[in-house]
């Protein structure tokens, strides 16, 4: 192309007719933002990473159970799900929280995408909520995939009745747990302006921190740290009432031990307690996260 072919100046046609514009309400903006954010998630490498994690965990469970056929798991669907789904899904949820939520807010600062959004007539809170919903939907996709893997296994061993009411209830509890965990993740994410810190803190806290803390408090102070989120998550496996040790509530269990039987008092969260704690986590972290983000400067 010769230089002369390039027009030196272009005049853009002025918008011909003045279009009517109705400014959106914040909740409408939040949903719009969710859509674009979700698109960003679903086509991102992190989504593939998350789905691979679920696939790997699912494959390991399937292989181990298929190879060893542990009688205790296969005695009934409740025992099966209580252990495999109950412990597996919390790991999936923690990973999903870290992967989709860890840098959700921190990344807006670090990757400078927040500067793009904040030039728009949108409240900070709207950005927070829109991103939360997107992260929730993305994480939920991972949870659903994991549930499908377990249901597939379940129907292999137990036939048509694999989807039980207990599994349904446990799934709902897992979703509530996801709400709470993601709420906390977003709070940490908005407290840090660096993605790596935010992700690291959330990962360490939820993968070991809370569990170590819970064990320490239980071991040293002999009280139950009901206020720790990981204490509440036992209800996801507990709802199946599959074993004395995992059943919700406080009770005395007898287990075979080295010198005869051991009697032990087990304290698990009851279902209402667990749900209450999770919802409290969700509400409190949402409020704190929103307040902290509202005061955040894009400097």
């Amino acid at each position: 192309m010769s230089a002369a072919a390039i027009p030196a100046t272009t005049t853009v046609p002025a918008p011909t007719a003045k279009h009517e514009r109705t400014p959106l309400r914040s909740w409408q903006q939040a949903l719009k933002l969710t859509r674009y954010q979700l698109r960003d998630y679903l086509f991102s490498r992190r989504f593939i990473l998350m789905m691979s994690i679920v696939a790997i965990i699912g494959a390991i469970l399937t292989a181990v159970v298929g190879y060893y056929r542990p009688a205790a798991f296969l005695s009934g669907s409740d025992a099966f799900y209580s252990t495999l789904w109950g412990s597996g899904v919390t790991v999936v949820i923690v990973f999903a929280g870290v992967i989709f939520g860890g840098d959700a807010i921190a990344g807006e600062f670090q990757n400078r995408t927040g500067y793009f959004l904040m030039g728009q007539p949108i409240r900070r809170a709207t950005v927070y909520v829109g991103k939360y919903i997107a992260a929730f939907v993305a994480a939920l996709t991972a949870v659903v995939l994991f549930a499908l893997v377990l249901l597939a296994n379940g129907s292999y061993y137990f036939g048509a009745g694999a989807f039980t009411a207990n599994f349904g209830a446990s799934f709902v509890l897992a979703v509530v747990y996801l709400l709470a965990l993601l709420g906390a993740t977003f709070l940490f994410s908005s407290l840090f302006k660096t993605s790596t810190y935010a992700t690291l803190v959330v990962a360490v806290l939820f993968l070991f921190g809370f569990m170590i803390l819970q064990a320490l408090i239980q071991g040293l102070a002999h009280t139950t740290p009901w206020y720790i989120l990981t204490y509440a998550d036992s209800i996801i496996g507990g709802v199946f009432n599959a074993s004395c040790a995992s059943a919700p509530g406080t009770h005395t269990c007898t287990q075979p031990g080295p010198g005869g039987e051991i009697t032990q008092t087990v304290t698990n969260a009851t279902i209402p307690e667990g749900v209450g704690i999770m919802i409290a986590y969700f509400v409190i972290t949402a409020i704190l996260g929103l307040l902290s983000f509202e005061r955040e400067e894009f400097s």
Binding site: H19, R21, R39, T113, G119
Partner: protein, 315 residues
């Protein structure tokens, strides 16, 4: 439609004990382009971020079309298109999707979106890339998308922080033509820049700040008339090296000549006081066949001289 306006009242921003912006008062009104000048760290970006509620003022307030940015961010920013500090688009979105997001958040109808998005992408010469993910774009390509995003909703007020950052020479000239075009449509443009030629070219008025304080705000003509009464300088280039002595001898009788500085063996900078008459006399004295003068031009623009003298005075 009333004239678009930007008002900053007693705008102050402190970072800890450091005052980045000190009681800045500024009132811009009408369809025009106002250049926002000042050295690095003067507080330009700080002021523009306050104006768009990215950061919060220690004191003072900003208004866009009379609506307080601090109290009603949503309503105030409706009228504005903003580009501050080279933001990033979500990397997995294409330019079209990114602009759709902006248009969507701003409540533009489908028909308006379909009309405006291709138009602004054409304006920033990115039509070819309309459906490619932004993630791998070069800095200048991203900046073009940012400019498009600031304009897609055809805002009445346009706030640009160094819009030419990262652009190639053609991109810079395109920005100028975009700004000129906006002015034709009665838009108010408030634009920070370090490129004085760009400011001289497209701005009607300039505001200069240093150390967070406003030094002046006036029309371009007033500013250059008021402040450039002092000395000027011209650069003379010769076809081949000329000894310093020769030049000095030629101009020995010139009492208005303040300084002769050799830039390289073929080029000299002459500083003098007085206007065009003196400049013409200097030109005559150097332009004979023996010296082979090939060019004789003002070494700095009027605005540059004002800028430098005012900044120096404050330091």
């Amino acid at each position: 439609m009333t004239a678009p306006s930007i008002v900053l009242t007693s705008l102050t921003k402190r970072f800890g004990s450091f005052t980045a912006l000190d009681r800045l008062d500024l009132k811009l009104e009408g369809g025009k382009c106002v250049g926002f000048l000042g050295p690095n760290g003067a507080g330009k970006t700080t002021a523009l971020k306050l104006l768009t509620d990215m950061i919060f003022p220690t004191e003072g307030e900003c208004f866009l079309n009379g609506i307080s940015v601090q109290r009603e961010r949503m309503r105030a920013l409706e009228a504005a298109g903003v580009l501050i500090e080279s933001p990033e688009v979500y990397p997995s979105l294409s330019p079209t999707q990114a602009l759709e997001m902006v248009a969507d958040l701003r409540g533009m109808s489908r028909t308006e979106r379909e009309e405006r998005i291709p138009a602004v992408l054409a304006e920033v010469k990115m039509s070819e890339w309309a459906h490619v993910k932004v993630g791998k774009f070069s800095k200048g390509m991203k900046q073009r998308i940012n400019i498009a995003a600031a304009l897609v909703h055809d805002p009445e007020i346009v706030v640009l922080d160094e819009p030419a950052t990262g652009l190639d020479p053609r991109g810079m000239s395109e920005v100028r033509s975009i700004v000129r075009d906006l002015k034709k449509h009665d838009r108010l443009i408030f634009m920070s820049s370090h490129i004085l030629a760009e400011v001289t070219d497209v701005c009607d008025e300039v505001a200069l700040i240093n150390h967070g304080k406003l030094l002046f705000y006036d029309t371009l003509e007033n500013v250059t008339a008021k402040f450039s009464a002092g000395h000027s300088s011209v650069d003379a280039s010769f076809a081949r090296p000329v000894p310093e002595r020769t030049v000095a001898d030629r101009l020995a009788a010139e009492s208005d000549l303040l300084k002769v500085e050799q830039l390289d063996p073929r080029r000299y900078r002459l500083q003098f006081k007085g206007g065009p008459a003196v400049q013409a006399r200097l030109l005559r004295k150097l332009s004979d066949e023996a010296l082979e003068l090939v060019s004789f031009t003002e070494s700095k623009s009027a605005l540059e001289e004002v800028y430098l003298s005012q900044i120096e005075k404050g330091d």
